[in-house]
Amino acid sequence: MTDTQLNFDVIVVGAGPAGLSAAIELKRLGTGSVLVVEREKQAGGIPRHCLHSPYGMREWNRLMFGPAYARRLTQDALDAGVDIRCETTVTALKPNGVIDISSDAGQQTLTGRAVLLAMGARETSRSARLVGGTKPKGVMNTATLQNFAAFCDHMPFKRPVVVGTELVSFSALMTCRSHGVRPVAMLEKNGRITARAPFALAPKAMGVPLHLETQIAQIHGKRQVEAVTIIDPSGSHTLQCDGVIFTGGFRPENALLRSSGFEIDSGSLGPKIDQYGRLSDTGYYCAGNILRGIETAGWCWNEGRKVAQCIAAGLQGDLPPRTPVNVSAQASASEHAIKFTLPQAISPSDPKAPVAFDKLQLRLSDAYTGDVVIGTSTHRVSSKPERRILLPLPQSPVSQKALP
């Protein structure tokens, strides 16, 4: 390919696990030209800077660290004949697979017969959490911390506080401990950690006190962080530290979708898709963390692959039309327990067509035990918030085309 090529069978936005696995699968299925557009200097997405495992189990049955995993996926894509353009940012999505990009060459327009959006997710910043105090250096998310560990010869602090207890929070702990940084505490506002129970042992094993029912109220310091004020049931306290890592609270990197006029699910903050991964403009598909905040790399990788199969079918004209019926989900005993379902809508089915989302992904915002009514069927659910719950996909509506 030359950089002057402007038309492709498929354009993938984002070279993370979802985008790269989709591109590889598309080539395997014989798709002509597949371009992956990535705004960073290197392909690989988030795993590029995750200097820890587990990565690669689902993909290759191997336990890998993030960077090796990112390199392998990238190499596999190149070997499969995928074109990857790094340092290229997609700036607008237009009808019928027309996208605007920006690179050193300035602005250009590319066209894909289909476009897969795999822009990933990011953590919630200190600002979006409205945490008070001053704005010294040393306040960041886990990914930024990991970027320092992976690409920089110094760490931004020595004794930070870690806020949050999601899976990624433990990545933050691991990254700290393997880079000579000793967190002074891990804070969780609820009475138990968000990640699965065994992880509660990890901070102690790493010599980091875990404070439950504790919130961060203020950050202090002029240049560098000097302390934080925390609030627990016994009152407010000052904790000396030189940094704050705000972990998790993942949200889809959805600005491009929104500014391009795609409808956003107020629960997942991602786009609304049908079981083939299609958006409201049928040239566009979606996979990976852009759909819902956070899943593991393996899950996103698999999703990319499955959506790629739908894209390939779509290019052959083998997907049913997108005439979706919205999925209705109700938790009988609690109005606000349901955060989102994926997909949000069901299009007609077709025995010839592959289905990317063959289960309904349900996520709760609060712990809930009780019935959940999906369309016309009722399911018993008992789960903590933010866990992946898989339910049978509701029945497809009858295709208009299929009617005599």
Partner: protein, 454 residues
């Protein structure tokens, strides 16, 4: 060897920067002394970035005159230096009967202030202009020329033009003491003595303190007044075209909702008196209040993401009026307590100070064809560097800051001396992700360039 300057300006806030430009162009040999590692580190670091018409300024005040002269000059020179202006206009909104009753009075004041183009709007007309507005609004009036500017590129441009035309700048250089020997001043700083015929005190939040150390007395006492803001992501900017102003009260202009020149949307500021002149702390409850207030005015704001938080300190004092004073016996001018309109008035205030200095006997030949700096254009409604060829790729994705923009700033005569200074000049890592993606890349770039960072 020590050089004798015509004028030493103490403080590189927007006021000091504008004065440096004016006096340099008028022919004076100028030095600017700033105590912070970088310029714009005091009151000028955080404001609402509105270029005011003066429609609501006190009638007949010096403030009004400076704001209006400043507005005109900004309009005249912005094209020459590539400075943005978004002439979006403001709506003064009445939500209660009492407020509605005050609209005609405020419009009369606008007329008296020479702002003739204000126009009353009914509820329906208001909602026709701003459809996302809470429909309980009762009435408003429109001030067409209230505008948005870049609060940092403007003062940078002023000082940069001064530097290009011969002025000197010393950062990290607090003035600690000074002696006037009847002919000239000797100012004591940790970086050596500075000699100058005239001294201008433009020390903002320390205006009274600098008067005290140089004159032994001050006719005003600074009482910092904090203003906190929440900033929403660019998608929220669709919700309003205008600057949405409340009917002001005795003590404050009130909480404003407006876009920023960079295409975000801000809600603020508060008005909170405090003793501390250095720290503008953020308070979670106040931030929640601002968030809620924003959603009250623009209901759709409730589901928008907060991008950033900031707070600034106004150099307020016990008097309402600017404290601009000449001290003829000591060749000094104090430009103090430029409380809440300094960004708008800076060029006008500078012109006024230029005339005061002439009154003190200062004479010089204006520079015939001054050099003009070209500023990077960061305004969302203008063509940005990322849209042009040769931009070297994007460093900060949320604000679409290019490497070329970053390098231009780092190689400029007014290169930043701190991370914060770099962010003010480029907006890198000030967007929705707050550094999630680019934080380390930005830091490494600055490390590489050898910036001593904060």
């Amino acid at each position: 060897m020590s050089k004798v300057y015509d004028v030493a300006i103490i403080g590189a806030g927007v006021i000091g920067c504008a004065i440096a430009r004016r006096l340099t162009l008028d022919g004076a040999r100028v030095i600017v002394l700033e105590k912070a590692p970088d310029i714009l580190d005091g009151a000028s670091k955080a404001n609402s970035a509105i270029l005011h018409t003066g429609f609501d300024a006190p009638q007949g005040s010096l403030e009004l005159a400076c704001v209006q002269e400043g507005y005109k000059e900004y309009e005249a020179l912005r094209g020459q230096m590539n400075l943005p202006l978004d002439r979006c206009g403001a709506l003064v909104l009445a939500w209660t009967e009492d407020q509605e009753a005050r609209l005609p009075i405020l419009m009369e004041q606008a007329h008296a202030n020479g702002v003739e183009d204000v126009a009353p709007l009914s509820r329906t007309e208001t909602l026709a202009l701003e459809s996302a507005l809470n429909s309980t609004v009762r009435a408003s009036f429109r001030v067409p020329r209230e505008s948005l500017i870049d609060p940092w590129s403007a003062p940078h441009a002023y000082l940069l033009q001064a530097l290009l035309n011969g002025a000197d700048l010393k950062r990290d250089c607090p003035v600690l003491a000074g002696q006037f020997d009847g002919r000239q001043w000797t100012l004591t700083t940790p970086r050596g003595d500075i000699q100058a015929t005239y001294v201008i005190n433009a020390a903002g939040l320390y205006g009274d303190k600098v008067d005290l150390i140089l004159l032994g007395q001050s006719s005003f006492n600074i009482r910092p007044r904090k203003g906190q803001f929440v900033v929403f992501d660019k998608m929220a900017a669709r919700l309003t075209q205008h600057i949405l102003l409340p009917v002001p009260t005795e003590t404050t202009k009130g909480i404003v909702v407006c876009r920023t020149i960079w295409g975000n949307l801000l809600v603020g500021p508060t008005a909170e008196e405090q003793e501390d002149r250095e720290t503008a702390g953020l308070d979670q409850d106040t931030l929640e209040m601002l968030r809620a207030k924003g959603a009250e005015i623009l209901p759709e704001l409730a589901s928008e993401e907060v991008t950033s938080l900031y707070a600034g300190l106004r150099p307020a004092c016990e008097h309402k009026e600017y404290q601009i004073k000449t001290h003829p016996d000591t060749n000094m001018v104090t430009v103090g307590a430029i409380r809440s309109t300094g960004l708008s008035s800076a060029l006008g205030t500078a012109a006024h100070v230029g005339r005061l200095l002439e009154g003190l006997g200062h004479q010089a030949q204006p520079i015939k064809i001054p050099d003009l700096p070209q500023m990077g254009m960061l305004a969302e409604h203008e063509t940005r560097d990322w849209q042009r060829a040769g931009n070297q790729g994007i460093l900060c994705h949320c604000e679409k800051v290019t490497y070329r923009e970053a390098m231009a700033v780092l190689n400029d005569p007014l290169a930043p001396k701190s991370f914060a200074g770099f962010k003010r000049r480029t907006r890198a890592s000030m967007g929705r992700c707050q550094g999630f993606y680019c934080g380390q890349a930005v830091q490494s770039l600055l490390d590489e360039k050898g910036l001593e960072h904060d």
